[in-house]
């Protein structure tokens, strides 16, 4: 199993290498104008240059921090609210109309209002990420809560659990795998949100890097920004999976 995984990982690495090589060859050969598509080596050069200026790390960290802070606030608020909504029909009836108003609004549509209220400050970026991920997260958690096998609730009550004890002893852990899966999707979406916010109004961040590159016709900087978004998202995704495994050890054991 491990062996096979490593082999497959190697195959993936090779195909990535092949892709970069073809790209390099095509651009070096002069078939494509460097302004439209610079060679990967040029992108790398740009990366080294910006790294030496200590700019690069600043941009990556700026975007990552905005995503993580905005998303963490959204998740911390969404998980308890979603669980309560999932377990109470009355609450659901009360909050459902509000959620259906907020949910369809794309996070971009909040940018003007948030600029008006918060200016170009960091809190404005956080709020955009929050607005983009809060409502969908609540819905994910609510669905996860409602999908719990009622048999578990019966068993817990039968063993003497109060209704509140059922919430944190049964509903929360029972829904946790789907909650985490939902939050993972939301984290990906939070990234698109923050980039769109940075494209509009920011002095740092990967979105700014891309926009800035475009304005100065530095296509390699645009590509560098894009590559860094991919790399950061992959890193955060890996970390999330690692945390997920530790939070739901019973799943890991069962699938082994």
């Amino acid at each position: 199993m491990r062996f096979l995984e490593r082999r497959l990982g190697f195959v993936g690495f090779c195909s990535f290498l092949a892709f970069v090589s073809v790209w390099e060859a095509v651009t070096r050969g002069g078939w494509i104008e460097p302004l439209f598509l610079p060679a990967p080596s040029r992108v790398l050069q740009r990366a080294v240059l910006m790294y030496q200026d200590q700019n690069l790390v600043v941009h990556v960290l700026a975007s990552a921090r905005r995503v993580l802070v905005g998303f963490a606030i959204a998740a911390v608020a969404a998980v308890p609210l979603g669980i309560l909504l999932g377990s109470s029909r009355l609450l659901r009836a009360a909050v459902d109309p509000l959620l259906s108003i907020i949910r369809p609004l794309p996070s971009m549509s909040w940018i003007p209002l948030s600029l008006l209220w918060l200016g170009i400050a960091e809190s404005q970026k956080y709020s955009i990420v929050f607005m983009g991920s809060f409502a969908p997260s609540v819905l994910y958690v609510m669905e996860a809560t409602r999908n719990i096998d009622p048999l578990f609730v019966r068993a817990a009550r039968n063993l003497g659990a109060s209704r509140t004890a059922v919430l944190y002893e049964v509903v929360l852990p029972g829904a946790l795998p789907s909650i985490l899966a939902g939050l993972k999707v939301m984290l990906g979406i939070a990234w698109t949100t923050v980039i769109s916010a940075e494209l509009v109004a920011a002095k740092t961040g990967l979105g700014f890097l891309i926009m800035n590159g475009k304005e100065y016709f530095l296509t390699e900087q645009v590509l560098l920004g894009m590559a860094l978004i991919s790399a950061t998202v992959v890193c955060i995704d890996r970390t999330f999976t690692w945390v997920e495994r530790r939070l739901i050890p019973w799943r890991v054991e069962a699938t082994r």
Binding site: F152, A155, L159, G160
Partner: protein, 263 residues
């Protein structure tokens, strides 16, 4: 004193096509230390009856008394063992057994001791840190029984607990249940489809009619303890089985006729 009294209980469920009458006028008493098996055709309301004793549902008419007091809500004094085990997948075997004790507010030391005791009783030593999904059905049902027993309920309610196990495991668990019944002296109310299982385990067999369920017969099971599979060869066994079979068969045919008839 009578432990459980089911006093003229009827139950109907509201549905789109009007109310479905599941149980009609059930009257039944269970004395402390009895092992009562209920047999009856599918859909006759056995689970409904057990769910009402557990307090999951309320009778439409009549009431169920536990030691003279009506059961109005879910109570841990009637411990339920489900056919689908209902072990919490996110808890280890030991944590599952611990659950009821924690809910009772028992201290850590005492909890640990009880967990060990019931792991030993059900032959689960060495599996305390395993998660349920990694274990076989037989192991899971053992843990589910341990979890309920550790909570020390007045009555053990079992709804076809061995129905989804393979024949060999089922026989093993039946024998273990007899052993536990012998040492714990718990009162047990047990539902099954199998007359053989009812005769092997019970001190009394109740036969239910087709829907709406009523108690048609209540036969003391005079087979001597300790019992094992060889009890099936005795004459008493055959006589009991024949009389139960006769009443069940009449009821099963009634349900079949109901299903076949075009009205």
């Amino acid at each position: 004193m009578t432990l459980i009294e089911i006093a003229n209980v009827s139950k109907s469920f509201p549905t789109g096509q009007g109310p479905v009458e599941a149980l009609r006028d059930i009257h039944m008493t269970i004395e402390p230390g009895e092992f009562v098996c209920i047999v009856g055709p599918s859909g006759c309301g056995k689970s409904t009856l057990l769910n009402m004793v557990a307090g999951f549902e309320q009778p439409t008419r009549g009431q169920i008394l536990l030691q003279g007091k009506p059961i109005t809500t879910v109570t841990s004094r009637c411990g339920m063992v489900f056919q689908q085990y209902a072990l919490f997948p996110w808890k280890t075997m030991a944590e599952n057994i611990e659950f009821g004790l924690k809910m009772q507010g028992l201290g850590r030391v005492e909890r640990r001791e009880r967990i060990r005791e019931y792991l030993r009783l059900m032959g689960l030593e060495g599996f305390e840190d395993a998660y349920p999904d990694a274990l076989s059905g037989g192991m899971k049902q053992r843990a589910a029984i341990a979890r309920v027993l550790a909570n020390d309920p007045e009555v053990l309610l079992m709804d076809e607990p061995f129905a989804s196990l393979d024949a060999m495991t089922r026989q093993l668990l039946q024998e273990e249940l007899l052993r536990i019944y012998d040492v714990s002296k718990k009162t047990i109310l047990f539902i099954t489809h199998s007359i053989d299982e009812a005769l092997l385990l019970s001190t009394r067999v109740c036969v239910m009619s087709a829907r709406p369920g009523r108690i048609m017969a209540s036969l003391p099971n005079t087979l001597p303890f300790p019992r094992d599979a060889s009890a099936q060869l005795s004459e008493t066994y055959l006589r009991l089985k024949t009389s139960i079979w006769d009443s069940v068969q009449a009821e099963v045919q009634k349900t079949l006729r109901l299903k076949v008839s075009p009205s």
